[in-house]
Symmetry: C2
Subunit: 311 residues, 2 copies
DNA sequence: ACCTTTTTTTGTCCTGGACAATATGATTAC
DNA sequence: GTAATCATATTGTCCAGGACAAAAAAAGGT
């Protein structure tokens, strides 16, 4: 059921990937990988003794860069045959050279030194000093962004990112459970669609909503649309909020939102937010796109003014 | 990028799915769906005007049942041509009568009634009353088991399970972060292999280890073996602990443990635990199989006696 | 400058063959 | 009776290369 990802390379450290692993880790479908190879000549994986594609590390990394640039608006045909260095330069151009603000840099530095204790304490201190809302809306957002950048630049290892994710989850979940009140209206169902695995964005939203006094029903990541539909009456929620990280395609996010809108009764609101939707031009009918945490607070306030008196 | 899922069926309410939507929501790959059709004659989707598969609701639902039963051990070829009713009966048969102990039943009942507040409070009360170790080793273990059973019997919806998982995570992560001491030897790296997505088991272990005074470096789920290898020197750990839920094959778990053993230097211990390994006969050379939380505490104690004086 | 139509690009779906990985069943050894 | 070993059957994933719809870009018209 589970195929081996790294087939014990003779040269240790030079991992290789089969097509399923590449699909999983780059988000490019097997069909796309094959058709690119046919059309553009890249990627050009080796073959194992049974003719199956074996992608070397370098090609894997270039594919990740391509995915990123395409998400950012480049066309595959224009960039696919440029060198990895040229692509890296394009990525660098994207964010014009900036370096993270000092407070963020300090925290990232602790992560890079693998000082888990110091890292944890720095996060907790930032939370104490700034309060939950500011911590989430500014610090965690910035950390996500800069750690993503550092990962692209190869400065952060996968396991560092895993560790970061775990610590942030600990802190956010701790904040959520520590909220004193029970939360009143509106009742908000919070989840993401299948394919969207990032949980931190969801937790950030949950923490802020809970702090603002809404009653959250958090289902974690990757709930199929049909199950979201079924959960709405079961938990009697007023709003369904979906999170889409920038790993998700904008069009896929919009499609999902429209699909859900068709399934839910009109008096249930749908809110969508997250990196994938930041650059969306027009919002689908009957869906509210939230581009910042402030947007979310306004949406909450608006709901309370418009809807709450009804009861 | 993702094509429309529901192509405005003439008959409203009877949703239809294209192959991508079926893949997303059942977890069965497009290749599998096509090969089943070719081999067994099911599913037998309609075609749209361009010869593309269109799955009606009933087939979609039967596919979900099939997926469920296959995960539980049935073979596709034996069950794929039975009626949906027969399949539902098979699912019901799965639970061999027994009912959970009263304390567990009460908590599950709150979940089934979608009383999120009451559910949360019941968990917190159990934790207070029993203490962390007993709560994890007894109550959470039992809840995992019985909720799994109830899900198979169709009594618990997917979203209920999602909600359960979220609440347990909140509580466990809260316990972890609330630990007063900072943890000393041994330093334990805690994660699971790719394919093993269950995070609750990992959190249970982390909570207990932290309570026992070990220093945990938790990487969350699904760390590729090569990255575990690289993380060991980076975080200077003494022990690598891996968790395998019963969704994992026993042989896959053992293979993974052996592979890791070959990559790590001999003075790093490897511990493996979780449902997949409960019935393992012989333990691989150089690996410690932990079949209970007590086993884990003994292993910890043993390590401290044997290894700690060295420093 | 803005809207509409044509052209190009790009991703997904298709068929049907092949074969490795996994599970099952038979056989032998303890 | 239980456990290990091997043969056979089942099942999922991969492959090639053709086709075409959806999306984007370019061209044209007002």
């Amino acid at each position: 059921m589970i195929t081996t990802t790294n087939t014990a390379p003779a040269d240790p450290g030079a991992a290789t990937y089969n097509i399923a692993a590449v699909e999983r880790d780059t988000g490019l479908s097997k069909d796309t990988l094959r058709v690119w190879e046919r059309r553009y000549g890249f990627p050009a994986p080796d073959r194992d003794q049974h003719h199956e594609r074996v992608y070397p590390q370098a090609q894997f990394e270039k594919l990740r860069l391509l995915r990123l640039l395409i998400d950012y608006g480049h066309r595959p045909g224009k960039i696919i045959n440029q060198s990895a260095e040229a692509l890296a330069r394009l990525v660098a151009e994207r964010t014009p050279g900036q370096s993270p603000p000092a407070e963020i840099a300090v925290i990232i530095d602790l992560l890079l030194r693998h000082d888990t204790e110091g890292f944890r304490n720095a996060l907790l201190q930032a939370l104490m000093k700034q309060g939950l809302l500011h911590f989430v809306a500014e610090t965690v957002t910035a950390l996500n962004h800069w750690i993503g950048e550092a990962w692209l630049a190869g400065k952060v290892a996968i396991f560092d990112e895993h560790l970061y994710s775990e610590h942030i989850q600990n802190i956010l979940r701790n904040s959520i459970i520590a909220q004193p009140g029970r939360g009143s209206a509106p009742r908000v169902l919070l989840t993401s669609l299948p394919g969207e695995k990032h949980r931190i964005g969801l937790l950030m939203v949950e923490a802020v909503l809970t702090a603002e006094g809404a009653a959250c029903v958090a289902l974690g990541a990757e709930t199929p649309i049909i199950d979201i539909k079924n959960a709405v009456p079961a938990y009697d929620v007023d709003v369904v909020a979906l999170s889409f990280s920038s790993a998700f395609t904008q069009s896929a996010a919009l499609t999902g939102l429209v699909e859900l809108r068709e399934l839910l009764s009109g008096n249930i609101e749908i809110w969508g937010g997250g990196g994938a939707l930041l650059r969306a031009r027009k919002t689908p009918q009957g869906v509210l796109l939230l581009r910042s945490f402030d947007d979310m607070r306004y949406a909450l306030e608006r709901w309370r003014i418009e809807r709450a008196p009804a009861t």
